[in-house]
């Protein structure tokens, strides 16, 4: 049952990822990325990361993709050529990386039992959100503050870049 669910989610994720790259219209690409984000959230739920699944839907699907859709519709681009003229080189490189990954996966495929079976630690008993919050505000307090600084810088930078003549006034 768990395997069936995983294969469904993985199949949809791979299919929509390929559609994001392959579709000609940017709006369709953004919409297929939306479907992919929902299925990634489903994958997180199956991995017992419920809080991350909620954040994935709220932040990625709710904020980031809406921003993309705004810009796509704002720019109103006419239809253009789909691929770069470097298409053969890019495809060749992609096939090479894929072959490398497959070879690595086949070589390491028999060592499944190297990964120890997960012990039932405190992660299972306390809630997922509670554990994340506790870790975030004790061990990772400084990175958390730096992340807020990054968001502030991005906000100011986006305003300065997109506003027309804020510097020349």
């Amino acid at each position: 049952m768990a395997q069936l669910l995983f294969f469904y989610l993985a199949g949809v994720i791979v299919l929509t990822a390929i559609l994001v790259v392959g579709l000609r219209n940017p709006i369709y690409s953004v919409l297929s990325l939306l479907i992919m984000f929902f299925h990634v959230a489903g994958l997180y739920v199956s991995l017992h990361a419920e809080f991350l699944a909620a954040v994935q839907i709220i932040v990625y699907a709710g904020a980031i993709l809406v921003l993309y859709l705004f810009v796509v519709m704002l720019l109103n681009v006419k239809r253009e050529d789909r691929y770069h003229y470097q298409f053969p080189i890019g495809a060749l490189l992609g096939v090479a990386i894929l072959t490398e990954a497959v070879v690595l996966a086949i070589q390491r495929g028999y060592s499944e039992d190297v990964v120890p079976s997960p012990p039932t630690s405190e992660l299972s008993f306390t809630g997922n959100t509670e554990a994340i919050g506790e870790s975030l505000f004790t061990t990772y307090l400084l990175p958390f503050e730096i992340a807020s600084l990054i968001l502030l810088v991005a906000m100011i930078g986006a305003i300065i870049l997109a506003k027309k003549d804020i510097l020349t006034r």
Binding site: S29, L47, A63, V71, P118, A162
Partner: protein, 100 residues
């Protein structure tokens, strides 16, 4: 129970799709979307390893990746708008100001 290697393979496939998208597309919005694909592939890896090793640190790192993704989108889209205003195109072949 799904083996860990399945998640790693899925994440590798999604990541490679993103790399190929960055390399072959010329629409700059699609290039940013492909970067999102790559970030999501790493997030899947983080969450899978976090589950299998019962360590919450992987899920905390997904938060930081999410923060970086959000700020990258904000700044990247602002740059795209500024570029479109000056060149009135979003084809990356036209952006060769820094080309020597």
């Amino acid at each position: 129970m799904v083996p860990l290697s399945y998640y790693v393979i899925l994440s590798a496939v999604v990541f490679i799709t993103g790399v190929v998208g960055v390399l072959i597309r010329r629409n700059i919005i699609i290039i940013l979307l492909s970067i999102e694909l790559m970030l999501n592939a790493t997030n899947i890896n983080f969450v899978a390893f976090s589950h299998y090793f019962q360590n919450i640190a992987g899920q905390v790192f997904v938060f930081f990746a999410l923060t970086v993704a959000a700020s990258e989108v904000a700044v990247g889209l602002a740059i795209i708008i500024a570029l479109y205003r000056s060149k009135s195109t979003i084809n990356v072949d036209e952006f060769q100001l820094l080309k020597w």
